[in-house]
Symmetry: C2
Subunit: 183 residues, 2 copies
């Protein structure tokens, strides 16, 4: 296990590894109905990302951590488990294309879940400083990235909403069963 | 009840009503750690909003509606119930400062919940066209608004995550009780 949850082992400019830079472009390209981020836009984003290599088992983000919220990750290779709570209930296993930590990057609130590398992981990292620099240097591009981030958070919100409805039905079912067995 | 869920009864330029324009500025001002939207920014946003007056009982948004996702609302006055599902389970009652419909505005997916005016409601409405115009005319400002939207969606995600944990515990508790009563 890495001892430093927020500072993964090794980073360099994403553009130093052209194959991964090309993968990042592909994964960032999106065609939202309101604000689209095309391949050219994604390429212009590359200088703002660092490449992170993390070994299997590395703690990428720690739930509740409010000190190290200064970056988000875009998973390029490998798999990451997302878990939450004292008993580390696994919420998801995610891979290439997944954004991690974008919520805390924007709002500065404690990380909402822990992320651990299940395999060796390569990810693109954008720091809050890089986002702010992007906003100053290329505001239209920053707007497109922020629209993408908002959409991704929205996807998770929709999925969680469905999960919540499922739970609500489960609770109702269990209560009915319990009622039937009341002595 | 209004018969047109997506086109509230009456709209005009938000700036025609200075007191409500000032309120909108106040409600939009935010100090995110990554991207802040200050009062000057909020004032520069005003021309992109329309003012909507909706009578009590008006359907502002309909769950599942994928045809009328072209605008979001910022509630200025009055109260709105948010409900979901065939049995219209009330999810929340929201008032001044709440954004509605920003998710579907960005991703074009069907509305995730229904919103109904509980009282007469006045809201600022931004269309997808206005957002795109903003992006072209004032990209830095668009970026700040999009960061605000992402943060607001994130807040709802965090709240829903907490709710989900509560449900998970409830399910566990009910299952334990049920186990104990097994004949």
């Amino acid at each position: 296990m890495s001892t430093t949850p927020a500072a993964p082992t090794r980073t360099r400019a994403l553009q130093e590894v052209p194959a991964l830079a090309a993968l990042a472009v592909e994964l960032l390209t999106s065609a939202g109905p309101a604000v689209a981020l095309d391949a050219d836009d994604a390429r212009r984003l590359l200088p703002y990302w660092r490449l992170v290599d993390a070994p299997s088992g590395a703690a990428l983000m720690a739930e509740g951590d409010q000190l190290h919220t200064g970056h988000m990750l875009l998973v390029l290779e490998g798999q990451v488990t997302v878990d939450s709570g004292a008993d580390h209930v696994a919420l998801a296993v995610v891979g290439a294309g997944q954004l991690l930590g974008e919520l805390a990057l924007l709002d500065g609130q404690p990380r909402s879940a822990s992320c651990t590398a299940m395999t060796p992981v390569r990810a693109a990292a954008m720091s809050r400083q890089a986002l702010q620099r992007l906003l100053e240097e290329q505001p239209a591009l920053a707007a497109k990235l922020l629209a993408l981030i908002a959409q991704r958070i929205g996807e998770r919100l929709r999925a969680l909403g469905d999960q919540l409805q499922m739970y609500a039905q489960l609770v109702q079912g269990l209560q009915t069963q319990l009622e039937a067995r009341r002595p």
